[in-house]
Amino acid sequence: MTSIEQVIGHSQHKSVLSRILNIQAFWVFIAAVLACLALTFMTDSFATERNLFNVARNFAFVAIIAIGMTAVIASGGIDLSVGSTVVLAAMVISVLMEGGNSFLLSAMVAILAALLVGFVNGMLIAYVGIPAFVVTLGMLSAARSLAMVLSNNKMIYEFGPDHDLLLWIGGGSTFGLPHPLYVLLILTLVMSLVFRWARWGQYIFAIGGNEQAATLTGIPVKQIKVSIYMFSALTAGIAGILMAGWLGSVTTNLGQAMELTVIAAAVIGGANLAGGEGTAVGALIGALLIEVIRNSLILLGISAFWQGMFIGCFIIIAVTFDRIRRMRASD
């Protein structure tokens, strides 16, 4: 029996340090910290309470959805419809609240609408067998169009009796921290646990690692796939509601092109587009780095048009880094 204990112990001790050094999110985190330090010295405006508050709030929206996206990517899929799900959820809650409904009821219907989007995505992908890229690309178009129909393409800025509540939830703060950040932190904590300790989490990674193997072992792959796309849509729906409250007004171009930023955040944070890898903390850190870059360009007076260049480079660097690490590991 001692030999078994030894065997288990041996692999556990394989130096915590070397394991951390092997995590992509760790290096991205270092990059973000360095960027923050540099900005603190180079500008007077970065390390102000106001700016940090804005950074914290802004990155939370992307990070929340990036956690949902991480689940999708880890299962070997992709969800291009999250930006449109954001606007659909935001529009549903806005229209309902404008019509005099309570926040709670409207928010629940908005979440249901988002879940329905995810359900349709998941069913078409898992049961009909259409590639995720195609299904969610179609949904990107369809869901935004639905939001336009709902609102007649008008801006909504009156939210009925619970107007102030919505603005407080999305745009307010408690103990100096913006509310979306609380949502993000809770989601990160819960999903970190779920990814590691729940069967559902384990099966996401199994499906992403080898879908055929997962099927052969009797895992209900199709049902789980549907639930993954519903989860992704849920995070987009939550973000949509929070963004409606933050902005205080909703137009039909809300969340446009957001899917790209979200996917970038997930990938920079270590989600593997080939499936099988990704963490909630990584998604958070990836989103943080993107927001810090965006913020620094503004503060340094560099044209915002350069933002895409930086994010693009980071995606490629992140994936290259992963390649190199893998090559070293296989030697």
């Binding site: 078994i4 069967r199 990674f205 080898n210 997962a214 072992t217």
Partner: protein, 246 residues
């Protein structure tokens, strides 16, 4: 008593006759070598017994009782385990996770239940020790040798009380030293009274572990005889059709 008995098994895919009237018997603790050219129907036979395919005709008996499988889980519950040709493992998960995939032990904390990694690692380590394999439960499968991967796939079959383990070309893509390892694994299964059906194209492997050899040719069973009463030359002839039947 026969552990597994196939009677008049046939399977066609549209116009393709993959198996035709195959009858076969495997005793408890017997290792049967199933040979045949590419497309002879070996994998099809395994998949029928494993509950992946429904036979077009014929019946399957386990311990002399007729069984009917509509899904792989049914076969598993009857004590049939399969190591698939293309090793159904998830590279990104640990050895222990792969062994337990789909049947993870859970621990309850009030309303939530979480995967019991500790039990999983301990149990997996025991199984690897039984198989005398130097596979560490927490290592990622990605970093493992072909022999270790086979050990993981085979350890899966020991989790439940398997009666029959079918292996589809377990030695196809691994080094000579690892082949010896896998053949040892097969002998350990046999020593535990488990019947093994080994599909292989490698004559030396089959002749070193199998008690009996059956040959499929274009869906027909053309021979089934004790290894001692046959020879590699005869089997080669049977596979290619140079020898009609034996």
């Amino acid at each position: 008593m026969s552990r597994l008995k196939l009677i008049g098994l046939s399977k066609h895919f549209g116009a393709i006759q993959a198996l035709q009237d195959v009858s076969l018997e495997v005793a408890p603790g017997e290792v049967l070598g199933l040979m045949g050219d590419n497309g002879a129907g070996k994998s099809t036979l395994v998949k029928i017994v494993a509950g992946n395919f429904h036979p077009s005709e014929g019946e399957i008996r386990i311990d002399d009782k007729v069984v009917e499988f509509s899904k792989p889980l049914d076969a598993q519950q009857s004590g049939i385990e399969v190591v698939y040709q293309d090793l159904a493992l998830c590279d990104n998960l640990s050895a222990a996770s792969n062994v337990f995939l789909g049947r993870e032990p859970m621990r309850k904390f009030g309303p939530v239940s979480v995967i019991d990694y500790k039990t999983m690692s301990g149990r997996a380590a025991e199984l690897f020790a039984q198989l005398k394999s130097e596979t560490r439960p927490r290592d990622l499968v990605r970093r493992m040798s072909g022999g270790q991967r086979q050990a993981v796939a085979i350890a899966r079959t020991l989790l439940s009380e398997a009666k029959i383990v079918m292996m589809d070309e377990p030695t196809a893509a691994i080094s000579v030293r690892q082949v010896a390892e896998v053949l040892d694994l097969i002998r350990r299964l046999r020593d535990r009274g488990i019947s093994v059906i080994l599909i292989s194209h490698r004559m030396p492997d089959v002749f070193s572990v199998c008690d009996r050899i059956s040959v499929l040719r274009r869906g027909h069973l053309v021979a089934s005889k004790p290894t001692a009463a046959s020879s590699p030359e005869e089997v080669t002839g049977l596979i290619t059709g140079a020898i009609e039947t034996a």
